[in-house]
């Protein structure tokens, strides 16, 4: 894991002191709200429906046990005993007091964490593959590249006031587990014909009001030009992105309006200029960072066999573990989606327990996934049963990864001031309705957003749900056919929306159409793609 150097620590400590002073001045009246608001947002502090909400950055979703433990302690000490893991691989606290916020940031800084750039029109937390460094299908560990870009983008003076927020994802596997092409910039670390490692740049993707899949604008940028090329992409956006209309201000609109060819031409021209400016950090810096992501001390000669005599354990192994690149190890996903639970929420005790389990069984490291679960990336297969037993005792052993119960749901109208409708109660009803049918229905990615901003990734769900406000009444639109993997596609709306019970019924009908038409090993998405929308529409609306 990356360790702060003295510069990192000094910057974060200085930010805490600065914010403490700003809060003090807000409370004593010397700083009015209109001046204070942008400053608190730069520190991840929003004012939401019920209280202040603090969003803490988890760089590329990676946490140490010590950091995770502090996240649990903050939930107890300053919040109401729980935290919410988000689709940006971050954590949010919903009940923060303004007067406590500087102390929370100070607690975070002690474990090399902060909330900087988790809000505002700047480059946000960089996301990555939750299986980084462990996946059997990985070219290299993408996190050193994500870390390099984190350092470049932190406090970057030119990109502090972009036309709109900016999200970057970095992956290094053919299997995209980070929705890479639905980011402002998606970077895939690739190998060219000569066997050299470089980066493919996908620019102008995103969800929200106008969902777009990012086109590839450069299939191979040499690694010693990674930062320079990123800077060129941002510069063109910063110069020409629409500042006159918030709804047209994301880079996806610029790339779409200019066209991929013209945007790329401008980026290449800017890139050629920037190459003469010597802005790229020396490769030695990348090597320094890489050294901090060295493999943990994997043991050799371990067994791959697992005692499957306990059927509940065997089911969990089948659903919630993935292939590791080192024999004898597995990647474990801890589902934060118990039947009827709130997707992504974990109590302070559960957070601390996961920290302890990471220390005991997974080389002291955890990952937050964009699907709002937690990953222990390196677990000995021989330890799986002991780990599962401990998780089970804490209500953390739900065996539903990538099934209909593993729902992504944004906070929606229960917490979010921008929401049109509640997301969580819909997720709860669906997970209760379909509990026990995960095997029959196979892989289904179901995603719910409480408004068009799409924090719940509804466009990318095999089944997506969008909450809308119909004359003050919650209404839910159904989308089918979205995907966020290597085969990224955007879901299509089935037709008129439903009330809360109606949407659950519509999903029941849609899954019925799937089961009736399924061929062989087809997933829901495969069947949808083969037979199209018409049979679903007909069954749902009659």
């Amino acid at each position: 894991m990356y360790k702060y150097d003295t510069y990192d620590q000094a910057m974060v400590d200085a930010r805490v002191a600065e914010f403490r002073d700003q809060v003090h001045r807000r409370l004593d009246g010397s700083l009015p709200e209109d001046k204070f608001r942008p400053l608190r947002l730069m520190n991840g502090l929003y004012l939401q429906l019920h209280a202040y909400m603090l969003r803490v950055a988890v760089p590329y979703g990676t946490l140490s046990s010590a950091q995770m433990r502090v996240l649990g302690d903050i939930a107890d000490k300053y919040d109401r005993g729980y935290g919410h893991f988000t689709t940006r691989q971050n954590i949010q606290y919903n009940w923060i007091k303004l007067e406590d916020a500087p102390d929370i940031l100070a607690d975070l800084a002690k474990v090399e964490m902060h909330a900087i750039q988790t809000s505002g029109n700047c480059i946000r937390n960089i996301s990555s593959d939750q299986y980084a460094g462990a996946a059997a299908d990985e070219l290299v560990d993408p996190r050193p590249y994500a870390e390099l870009l984190r350092q470049w983008s932190s406090f970057h003076p030119e990109f502090s006031y972009l036309p709109r927020k900016f999200k970057i994802a970095v992956i290094a596997s053919a299997t995209d587990r980070a929705a890479m092409r639905l980011h402002d910039i998606g970077i895939e670390i690739v190998k060219n014909d000569k066997g050299e490692i470089g980066a493919a740049f996908y620019v102008g993707g995103g969800m929200g009001r106008t969902p777009m899949i990012a086109p590839c604008i450069n299939a191979f940028v040499p690694l010693d030009q990674l930062v320079t090329y990123s800077e060129a992409c941002l510069r063109v956006y910063n110069r020409y992105g629409r500042r006159d209309n918030k709804y047209k201000a994301r880079i996806k609109i610029l790339v779409h309006e200019l066209g991929k060819k013209e945007y790329t031409r401008q980026v290449e021209a800017e890139f050629a200029h920037l190459l003469t400016q010597g802005i790229e950090p020396p490769l030695a810096e990348l090597e320094r960072i890489k050294a901090q992501f060295a493999d943990p001390a994997f043991e050799s000669g371990l067994t791959d066999s697992v005692d499957r005599s306990d059927p509940d354990f065997a089911l969990w192994v089948d659903r919630n573990t993935a292939a590791h690149r080192v024999p004898g190890y597995a990647i474990v996903t801890i589902s934060l989606k118990p039947v009827g639970g709130i997707p992504g929420d974990a109590s302070a005790d559960q957070i601390r327990l996961m920290a302890d389990l990471a220390k005991e069984y997974a080389f002291d490291e955890l990952r937050v996934t964009h699907a709002q679960n937690i990953v222990l990336a390196h677990v000995k297969k021989a330890d799986l049963h002991a780990l599962w037993t401990r998780l089970d005792e804490a209500g953390l052993s739900t065996a539903n990864l990538d099934t209909i119960g593993d729902i992504i749901a944004c906070p929606g109208l229960d917490y979010c001031s921008l929401a049109n409708a509640r997301s969580i109660p819909v997720a709860q009803k669906i997970s209760e309705r379909f509990a026990g049918r995960e095997g029959e229905l196979g892989e289904i990615k179901l995603k719910i957003s409480g408004c068009i901003n799409a924090c719940g990734h509804h466009h990318a769900g095999h089944i997506g749900i969008l909450g809308v406000d119909r004359k003050g009444v919650e209404n839910y639109q159904l989308l089918l056919g979205g995907s966020e993997g290597a085969d990224t596609s955007l879901g299509q709306i089935t037709g008129p929306g439903f009330d809360e019970d109606g949407i659950v019924g519509a999903i029941e009908t849609a899954t019925g159409v799937y089961l009736a038409n399924k061929e062989g090993e087809e997933r829901f998405l495969d069947t949808y793609r083969r037979i199209g929308m018409a049979p679903f529409k007909e069954a749902i609306y009659g």
């Binding site: 004012l47 429906l49 009940w95 709130i342 109208l413 229960d414 509640r422």
Partner: protein, 98 residues
């Protein structure tokens, strides 16, 4: 009714203008009538409240009911965590919101 709501500056808690100060309980909400803008400006300037605004509401047999669901959820708390709401002992409290 023209009722006023906002958040407590220090704690962020949802509050309602009760005619002389800010209450946590929507049932205490007073009709600000044509005085709304004056009260909001004065109270924000005095740092008694932040992000305050006026909303429609009506007085019903059960108390004051804001017109929009968003304000009713603000008045109660998250419907999915009634234990953290203002009515933790009432399992049906969420029905009031709908």
């Amino acid at each position: 009714m023209n009722i006023l709501t906002g958040n407590d500056l220090k704690t962020g808690a949802v509050t309602w203008w009760d005619g002389s100060g800010w209450s946590l309980h929507v049932d205490d909400a007073a009709d600000a009538g044509a005085e709304a803008d004056t009260i909001l400006a004065r109270e924000e300037a005095a740092r008694h409240v932040v992000s305050a605004y006026a909303v429609d509401g009506e007085k019903t047999a059960e108390g004051v009911r804001p017109a929009h669901i968003k304000e009713r959820i603000r008045a109660l708390g998250p419907t999915v965590r009634l234990d953290l709401s203002l009515k933790p002992a009432d399992p049906a409290a969420g029905n009031w919101v709908i």
